[in-house]
Amino acid sequence: MIRFPRFKKPGLLTISTMLLFLAGGTAVAQEIAPASESGEEDASTESAQSAPVPSGDSGDSRVEAQQEAQQKEIEQLRADLEDLRARMDEEDEIDFDEMGASSEFEPSLDVYGFMAFYAGKWFIQEEDVMYGIMQNKFTFGITDLNIYFSGHLTETISSLVELRFTFLPNGADASFIPSYERVDNTYMDNSTSEELTLGGVIIERAKMTWQPYDFFGVSAGRFLTPFGIWNIDHGAPVVIPINKPYLMLRHTLPLNQTGLVVHGRFFPAASTYFDYAVTLSNGRGPTEEIYDLDDNKAVGLRLRLSYEGQDVGFAVGAYGFFGHTTDVTKAPGFAGEDGTTLTIVEEITERYQELAGSADILFRLWNFRLQSEVAGGYLKYRVRPLVVLPIVNVESPSGEYQPDFLRYSLYVLAAYEIPIVSGDDAMSLTPFVMVEYDVMYDSLPEYDTWIYRGGLNFRPNSFVVLKAACSYVRLPDAPNIADIWTLAGQVALTF
């Protein structure tokens, strides 16, 4: 609770009174002036003056003396007023110091997050290859647990860290061929003999930002790739469906990057925004979060125009990405004239050049929302690895090398928010439908996938959303993958 006694002090009343008096005094002085000009004597005015007037003086000199006395009084009142203002400022400073604030920007740190609890089942035919790969039993799970640390250090410098906690890699399928293996991260604490299962932490974002102007800012660190709608929304309480679209699952564009972003916003008209972002990063790679395995940096450009009116809104955006991805293996060797100097030799096992991009559109009319994204990329190999079989992620036994390929994915989502209760305790229902089409490799058309989703969200307040959804997945050209149904429920909340 902030105290502000300054305005409750009787000193202000004093000032007001003095101001009134000052104004009154000035008025009197103005009234006297014409009288002095006319040379008439005013008995009442004379009696009202406290300054002694020498007897025998002319009328002019008496009026001048009165004016002089009043002028002194006015000056004294002005001085008193300034003195009071200074004292009020001083008292205010003391009060402000007492409550621990300062007149400068006060650094702050906000800690908050969101989580999502999931229940669901995939209905897959037992003879289907997907049966053993996907989760086919009814199960519960925690799909999201993200914690934010948002710091504002100065008016222009801020930091943002978003950590995603997961039980993985424990329990993940490590391999199917030639034998099945599962990651087991269970260890015994020798001091207590208790078995502990270790999970993991994904650093979604860890960036520091300098933003001196709206139209120019620089961020450094780990950031979300500024493409599309879903990757920016990304939290279960914000996105509408339960399941991510394939363009997110397949990482058609890298979801996160490590490097620099120059970004800014312009305001071309009321409620209209033009945003840009230029990214420079390690791009993709097996170690890109830590270091790059080649000197070629990935570059990207994001442009977005949006209008956010009260009843209508729209946004169109695009992101382009160009980068090189390299994987290496390292082996010890010996060099030098006598062949005894130990060296570590790098050998490139995979390198490709990637040109990728996305486009997104969002349209809102009252409570109706239509959004769509498309993302794709062309990968051209310089050093080709062996072909890896999709889904099971094992090298093809045929021994063929990976060809260049194109991949792309798109979705269209329509939703309508129906208010149940309006006002401050608003509740709403949001039915939605979504259609996706995904081409994993244009060289493997049998894996082209259609996904149809539908569901209903219930939002009892602004912190919680309950979701129920079903999906139908179809790979029309896959010889050994039948259609799949899924049912899922989710409770997502922010805290």
Binding site: M1, I2, R3, F4, R6, F7, L12, R85, D92, F96, A101, S103, E104, F105, E106, S108, D110, Y112, F114, N146, Y148, S150, H152, E155, T156, L160, E162, R205, Q211, Y213, D214, I232, D233, H234, G235, P237, V238, R265, F267, A270, S271, Y273, E308, Q310, S422, G423, D424, D425, A426, R459, N461, S462, F463, T494
Partner: protein
């Protein structure tokens, strides 16, 4: 005579459509900035952008630090309706999303917004006319009551 009639007609029209001087009300909301601010005036659109943190600087330059009245106060409610044009619930939802998407927190809240503006350089907030004290802050926009 025809010219006179035209003049009279035009004058009558001008008087009919001319805005009637409106009396000040203690429930007018005064948008105020720190005395050191160089901002002279703001528009409602600009103010909405500032309080929804869609912009961090004034159009005329200078960083902004929006300061809200306490949640639940009539002043906050009036400002929300007149400027943000949204309900309390919609504003909460907006900030939940902004936090997750951009890591952006809602503006600080003060019981006495005038004091906060008086002390905090770059601050912008609002008070009822009846609460305003001359010399403590600069008025950059008046939102008439009702």
């Amino acid at each position: 005579m025809t010219r006179l009639a035209s003049v009279v007609t035009v004058l009558a029209f001008v008087l009919a459509v001319a805005p009637v001087a409106r009396a000040e009300s203690p429930r007018d909301i005064l948008v105020v900035v720190n005395r050191a601010s160089t901002v002279d005036s703001v528009t409602i659109d600009e103010l909405r952008d500032v309080f929804l943190k869609k912009r961090a600087s004034w159009r005329s330059g200078g960083k902004t630090t929006p300061v809200n009245a306490s949640e639940g106060s009539s002043l906050r409610e009036d400002f929300r309706k007149r400027v943000l044009n949204m309900s309390s619930s919609a504003e909460k939802s907006y900030w939940q999303k902004r936090k997750i998407k951009a890591g952006e927190s809602r503006p600080a809240e003060f019981e006495n917004t005038l004091r906060a503006v008086f002390k905090l350089r770059g601050a912008v907030s609002y008070v009822y006319r009846s609460q305003f004290k001359e010399g403590t802050a600069r008025v950059v926009l008046v939102l008439p009551a009702g």
